[in-house]
């Protein structure tokens, strides 16, 4: 079976961090919010989106602690949309369990599953699972090595510092030969960009603030590094936050109301400046917030697709306590209006979307996989 991601195409995905929604002004329970995710995966499929992804978090108001379990439920509720993670916190997972869980989701979804692996920007999982945040870098490097070997090799003998050694181990259930597509999620570190290229893994750039065009340098670094490491051309994706409404004003009013308290709380926790409405407006106008009417958001996405050489754009659509109807409306507009409009805009003016001389690449499942 071949699951091709052609660089010549642009794909659209939705990302959720399992943020608790409201229903008629009431905060939904964790359980209701989880069931809503399955409904939204179905909706995403029905409005023609390509990918639905769920994050991994360990705090109040976010229900996505057991990502593969949620994806398994979504797999059974859908038939064509691809299912992924955004991101899997590989550093505090056991690669063996992860292989087993995602092989299971891939079986249930009949080959529609992929992962985005990352170090995560939230650090709760380190204390919860007994890891030292100071070893952040080594832990990720080691676990990535093991996870890729488990996907790419039949029997694995391995030893390292952060889990027990494996002696001639063959895991079950089996993923397809070569594994399932695994992307590397980066937040801005050039080292992470080079790591993705060295390992021959597609790149997902998480751009959650500031001018997104500044990541064009990362994209170019990635493409150069791929070629230096002798790797095939691989896709670049972008994950950003956003919300789509009927008009720019509608979208901004609803989004700001829910985004402002979340980011204010985060700013206190992480020690950055609290958001002001003025800065919010700037972020929407020229930054990494994809908020507005379908036309506004489509124009903005088309620009960044050209600038950052993207073949995939993922919109993180949920915000804590955003009403479920608003989430639904935003998903519909993204699939039915924004995605077709971006494709149209790119056809009219591809700009530097395709770098000179780049040929379309495929991520091949089965046989010799380019990605894994």
């Amino acid at each position: 079976m071949i699951m091709a991601i052609r660089i010549g195409d642009i794909e659209f995905g939705l990302n959720s961090f399992g943020d608790v929604a409201t229903d008629g002004g009431r905060a939904m329970t964790d359980a209701e919010s989880l069931r809503l995710l399955v409904d939204e995966a179905q909706l995403a499929e029905s409005v023609g989106l390509d990918v639905f992804s769920i994050g991994e978090h360990y705090r109040e108001g976010m229900v996505d602690a057991a990502t593969p379990v949620i994806l398994a439920a979504a797999a059974q509720a859908t038939s064509t949309i691809r299912l992924g993670t955004s991101v899997t916190v590989l550093s505090t997972q056991d690669p063996v369990r992860l292989y087993q869980q995602f092989a299971t989701v891939d079986a249930l979804s009949d080959g529609r599953t992929h992962l985005v692996l990352g170090r995560a920007s939230a650090i709760e999982s380190f204390a919860l699972f007994g890891y030292d945040i100071a070893e952040y870098e080594q832990i990720f490097e080691e676990k990535l090595d093991l996870f890729l070997r488990l996907m790419r090799e039949d029997r694995v003998t391995w030893s390292g510092q952060y889990r027990t050694p494996l002696e001639n181990v063959r895991l079950h259930p089996r993923m397809p030969d070569g594994g399932i597509p695994a992307w590397i999620g980066i937040g801005g570190s050039p080292d992470s960009v080079v790591r993705a290229a060295r390992n021959g893994l597609p790149l997902m750039m998480a751009i959650i603030g500031g001018r997104p065009e500044r990541f064009a340098g990362h994209a170019e670094l990635y493409l150069r590094a791929l070629s230096q490491f002798g790797q095939p051309e691989l896709p670049i994706g972008q994950h950003s936050l956003g919300f789509i409404g009927d008009t720019d004003e509608d979208a901004k009013n609803t989004h700001w109301k829910h985004w402002q308290p979340v980011v204010t709380a985060m700013s206190e926790e992480r020690g950055f400046y609290a958001p002001t409405h003025e800065r919010y407006e700037t972020e929407v106008a020229t930054g990494a917030l994809y908020v507005g009417s379908p036309e506004t958001v489509a124009q903005k996405i088309a620009r960044i697709v050209r600038a950052n050489h993207l073949s995939r754009f993922d919109l993180k659509y949920d915000v804590l306590h955003l009403p479920r109807e608003a989430r639904e409306h935003s998903i519909r507009l993204f699939g039915e209006r924004v995605a077709p409009r971006v494709r149209e805009l790119l056809e009219d003016d591809p700009g530097e979307w395709h770098l000179t001389g780049r040929t379309p690449a495929e991520i091949v499942k089965g046989g010799k996989a380019a990605h894994a």
Binding site: S33, R35, A65, V69, A73, A103, L108, F129
Partner: protein, 361 residues
């Protein structure tokens, strides 16, 4: 003594790989999808529960039961979704709670977890645990899991995982508490521990006469009484297979069962299975293999003898059987065996070997 009106029935599988119509053993992925199809049929037929085991051996496709159960959750309406068992000793109770609370949400409150130490040992080296800590691992982890079930911040310290300080674990369930069982294979100490924590007791009876487990049921009831915990209806799970006739069922089941039994036996120092032993276990032991009537009679006797409130049939213990035969066995179980067992028990309910007092349902 119960009147068996609340009796529940389940199907149980380890995710054995069946054969397709051409006789070829299917892939792991196809085996997982076959398990989903069987659970969907069970749900359609009104069977109350499905339980899925966790194994780390090549014979079995399922190493992550709750992931398979989440798929089943979406495809079913009523059936309870359980593990059979979750090998808690080699897992992290925090992760286990998160996965089952998620499953519980996705299934509208239908999740149940059956905790166990596992009768296989592969998971210990795979996840870096020492078999010599077998007791300690389960003791500590069941204690932490019990603490997590209150769904409030937990402070805990032990030797088998990182300490927790006021750790609030999400997601929360709607009911406020996950339905939790402990699978017990025959240790009185495990029975008492189950009673101590107020968990439900699931007896794994995979060989010999079921009557020999009567003292455990009795012990559970006495222990809950002394400890002031709830005596829930006891469950039992045993292997079996149903076809149109006794002969057909035996022929479908025996070859694959022998292969697996001998492979596991070789690891545990058992001699190869002889046909006469198999037949004796079908006749008077714990293999529920035969026509609907044969299996129903045998089940009714066991249920009466042990006074259990739940019976789970491990329907895939015949190894690489035809997928179509497996599906048919589930169908016969739901449409013929279960109604027949209920009828038999309504006729003559009281012949228990358990001596304890009546208990709360």
């Amino acid at each position: 003594m119960s009147d068996f009106t609340d009796l529940e029935f389940g199907i149980d599988t380890f995710g054995d790989l069946p054969r397709d119509d051409q006789g070829t053993v299917v892939s792991y992925a196809a085996a997982i999808r076959a398990t989903v199809a069987e659970a969907v049929l069970a749900d359609d037929l009104g069977i109350e529960a499905v339980a899925i085991g966790e194994h780390h051996r090549p014979e079995f496709a399922i190493s992550s039961p709750e992931t398979v159960l989440a798929g089943i959750a979406t495809a079913t309406e009523r059936i309870r979704l359980g593990s059979g068992v979750t090998v808690l000793s080699s897992d992290d109770p925090v992760r286990v709670f998160q996965r089952f609370a998620t499953l519980d949400a996705l299934s509208n409150g239908r999740a149940e977890i059956i905790l166990g130490r596992g009768s296989f040992t592969e998971s210990f080296p795979l996840f870096g645990y020492d078999l010599s800590d077998y007791e300690l691992l389960f003791d500590e982890k069941i204690d932490l899991f019990h603490a997590l079930l209150d769904e409030k911040p937990v402070t805990w310290e032990g030797t088998t995982r990182a300490a927790l300080r006021e750790a609030d674990v999400f997601p929360k369930t709607d009911s406020g508490r996950l339905r939790t069982w402990v699978g017990v294979g025959g240790s009185p100490q495990s029975v008492i521990r189950t009673a101590h924590y107020g968990f439900r007791l699931m007896l794994a009876i995979i060989g010999g006469a079921p009557a020999r487990f009567a003292p455990y049921v009795d012990l559970y009831r006495r222990a809950t009484e002394q400890l002031g915990t709830t005596a829930y209806p006891v469950g039992m799970h045993s292997p079996g297979f149903i076809a149109e006739t006794d002969e057909e069922a035996m022929e479908a089941f025996y070859p694959g069962y022998k292969v697996i039994r001998d492979r596991i036996g070789a690891l545990r120092g058992w001699p190869p299975l002889r046909r006469s032993e198999f037949e004796a276990d079908v006749e008077s032991g714990s293999l529920y293999v035969g026509s609907p009537e044969t299996v129903a009679r045998k089940m009714a006797t066991a249920i009466r003898t042990l006074d259990v409130g739940r019976f789970d049939l491990i329907y895939t213990a015949g190894g690489a059987m035809a997928a179509s035969a497996r599906l048919r066995a589930v169908e016969l179980y739901g449409t013929k065996v279960i109604p027949m067992v209920r009828e038999l028990l309504a006729e003559a309910p009281a012949q228990s070997a358990v001596t304890g007092e009546a208990f709360r349902r």
